[in-house]
Symmetry: C2
Subunit: 429 residues, 2 copies
């Protein structure tokens, strides 16, 4: 045992592992580049006891018959992979549930794990009774049924939605990737471009804002600049193929790609075209930020570039030294991710990660970097750069500019600390 790579903590090393470690793996992982990404694991060598592998119990009798689950659910062995909801809230009507990012791969969030944030609970809406009214500064005020909406020319786009308080600036920041930034998810949305519907109604002079209202008990209301409404805004009714889930606005949601989550008004019932914003509760009392000079930032629409390493991440453990892939997600409300850089030495040196193609605008982007863990303590972190050139800042940089009263739009770099035992914890905690 002359090579660090063979120091498996959980299994006795074998001759095979030694061969692997001194062969392709060392050349691959340490190099850190794509060309050397050949080898990773230290699998067991077959021996008399397990070649061929013993026939497992589940091959000895027929499995579950089809039809028990007309709508399928995950394996019973994945029952711990659920939305991350605090168990100690005073109430669950205005609350949030986070996506378990550390358990997910790729960029699509399955609908059952899409994050949720409600201000008045989740209404149960009969789509046959639901209406969308478009009025205000329009030539033709109109009321649409869902059937009307679905007859318009449609589009499908993959976009993230993120809560602006993801995370808030208040300590403690949490233990897992989900605790920290689990209020972001990504799906393929289908619906009608909002500009198509506005053209149907006809905008009048002075149309500068569109005030959107949800059909929940909070009647959540946000004002959207007309430029966004005539750009990539959509009225969406489907999410990852099927109709929206109730928690994401069934039967109709306003989608504003890259804008803070609460503006993507769920259960959408009304669009009023106006000259001035509504200055609603959610754009005055909430979703504004008091700055150190006493002014308040308001209408902070865009979610700035952000990234997080999801594996290895808080709550996980590296059980073997040697090759580990560092992977995570990056996104920007301003467009495509141009680059993600990863540091494994506390922010001193940075390497460029590989981005999974296709890189889509205002969508999660999966990044990956091969890494050789030598068993020593390490601090790993990622920073995103978007196509505008904007670079994800450190928490210290954000706090220096925004002060201690700032609450939303924390897009700080988030380091994970790895100790000599391989335990991964929050590097800012």
């Amino acid at each position: 045992m002359t090579d660090d790579d063979t120091g498996a903590a959980t299994r006795p090393p074998s001759r095979r592992e030694f061969l692997r470690a001194s062969g392709a793996m060392a050349g691959g992982a340490v190099a850190g580049g794509l060309a050397g990404r050949a080898a990773a694991a230290e699998p067991a060598a077959p021996d008399a006891a397990n070649l061929p592998p013993n026939v497992p119990e589940w091959m000895k009798a027929p499995g579950e018959p089809m039809g028990n689950e007309p709508y399928g659910t995950p394996s019973v062995y994945e029952k711990g992979v659920v939305r991350n909801i605090s168990k100690t809230l005073k109430q669950y009507i205005s609350a949030s549930g986070r996506t378990p990012l550390q358990d997910l791969d790729g960029i699509i969030t399955p609908n059952g794990l899409f994050y949720e944030r409600h201000h008045g609970g989740v209404p149960t809406i009969d789509p046959a009774q639901h209406r969308l009214m478009v009025h205000g500064l329009v030539e033709r005020p109109l009321i649409f049924t869902m059937e009307d909406i679905r007859r318009f020319p449609s589009q499908s786009r993959i976009h993230f939605i993120e809560c602006s308080g993801n995370p808030v600036y208040t300590r403690p920041y949490g233990k897992t990737a989900s605790d920290l930034v689990g209020l972001v998810s990504c799906a393929e949305w289908t619906g009608v471009p909002l500009k198509t519907v506005l053209a149907e109604a006809g905008l009048e002079d002075g149309a500068r804002w569109v005030v959107a209202e949800g059909a929940d008990a909070a009647a959540l209301t946000r004002s959207v600049p007309i430029e966004k409404c005539l750009d990539d805004a959509m009225l969406v009714y489907s999410q990852n193929g099927e109709r929206l889930r109730p928690q994401q606005g069934y039967p109709l949601r306003l989608l504003l790609p890259g804008f803070e989550g609460n503006m993507n008004v769920k259960w959408l019932r009304r669009l009023k075209v106006t000259t001035e914003p509504a200055y609603s509760r959610e754009e005055t009392s909430k979703y504004t930020d008091l700055m150190p000079d006493g002014t308040a930032r308001e209408f902070t629409f865009h979610m700035e570039a952000k990234s997080i390493i999801t594996r290895p991440s808080g709550g996980q453990k590296l059980t073997v030294r040697g090759f580990h892939e560092i992977t995570g997600i990056a996104w920007s409300g301003h467009g495509k991710i141009a680059r993600v850089e990863v540091s494994v030495d506390g922010g001193h040196d940075w390497q460029t990660a590989e981005l999974q193609e296709p890189v889509l605008t205002r969508a999660l982007t999966r990044f990956r970097l091969p890494w050789h863990w030598n068993g020593e303590p390490a601090m790993i972190q990622s920073r995103a750069v978007d196509e505008t050139g904007y670079v994800q800042p450190t928490l210290q940089e954000l706090l220096a500019v925004r002060g201690s009263n700032h609450f939303y739009h924390n897009n700080a770099i988030w380091p994970w600390r790895i100790d000599a035992a391989g335990e991964v914890t929050n590097g800012q905690a």
Copy 2:
């Protein structure tokens, strides 16, 4: 009422609808091009009774609290959108359940509705107990745990999987898009390139095939040419972000993009590298085709280019004359979809449909064409052309070449008949 567009069968026409019909809509829909795709619906005009819309019941009290569903499910109003499973099978162990394509949008199939096809039921596999053995013509036979597999460098790719009997050539062909071709679905898969794992084991001279075996009661076994294994084949463990569903091979599946579904071996437990194929049951007794000259087609790996209009499609009804978007899905096992053409006159004239970007290789591609239905009977159909130049054939062309004993690989153009009442039925039935 001087315009066909206003002939709404389900609601009394209003002055507003008349305005819509004689305005933007007529210019848009009839032109049939993208430039004219502005207007679609005939929404109601607000009046004293409904301006603003009456406050619905679900706004008058808080909705459902968060946390009732840690893993979310669809709206109760969507409970009919489930996998399409025949109610009259003799058994449900070796059977199939189809994706309800006519109810879906976009290209991603939600995991709960992904089609399923099993030969020995669905095993319930403990991932901690599961092993993958790689042996045969390799330098180092290896056995991997799932933890080993997940340590390899990963990739995420969006690909379709399709059963080769989708549909079979046997009448009756079914009523809905799901009945016909619901044995195709599409997801974002994450896993490790198979070539990485084979490199770990080291291929020996004479390695020409890899025989894959599943850990189900059928021990389903298929032989895969080494060229595919060293190209885009993957060992996948996640599907649309989360771990594979049991019906799709939890915890590990072989993914062979573009190859017939059963070769994408689920519950993968063994890969044996060989010189000759195994000639297993599933490549001799099944999944071969007797041709008119008495020979049999075997090893028919690729799923050829295909498309289907999902809306309007069988079982649906056009309730109004005027604008309707024709939309559907196209795919090819040989690469990207280059073009989809749509005919609304029984195959006489064909128009080029718009393809939703990004168009991905060996993935479903959503196509759309604006259409003005004048209320007269029509026959609508789509045909796909892939990047190799291959053109989806008619059923008559296929039958002429393959004869009446042919069972699999029916990729025929499928027309839908629309009668004067707007009812949509199978054009081949």
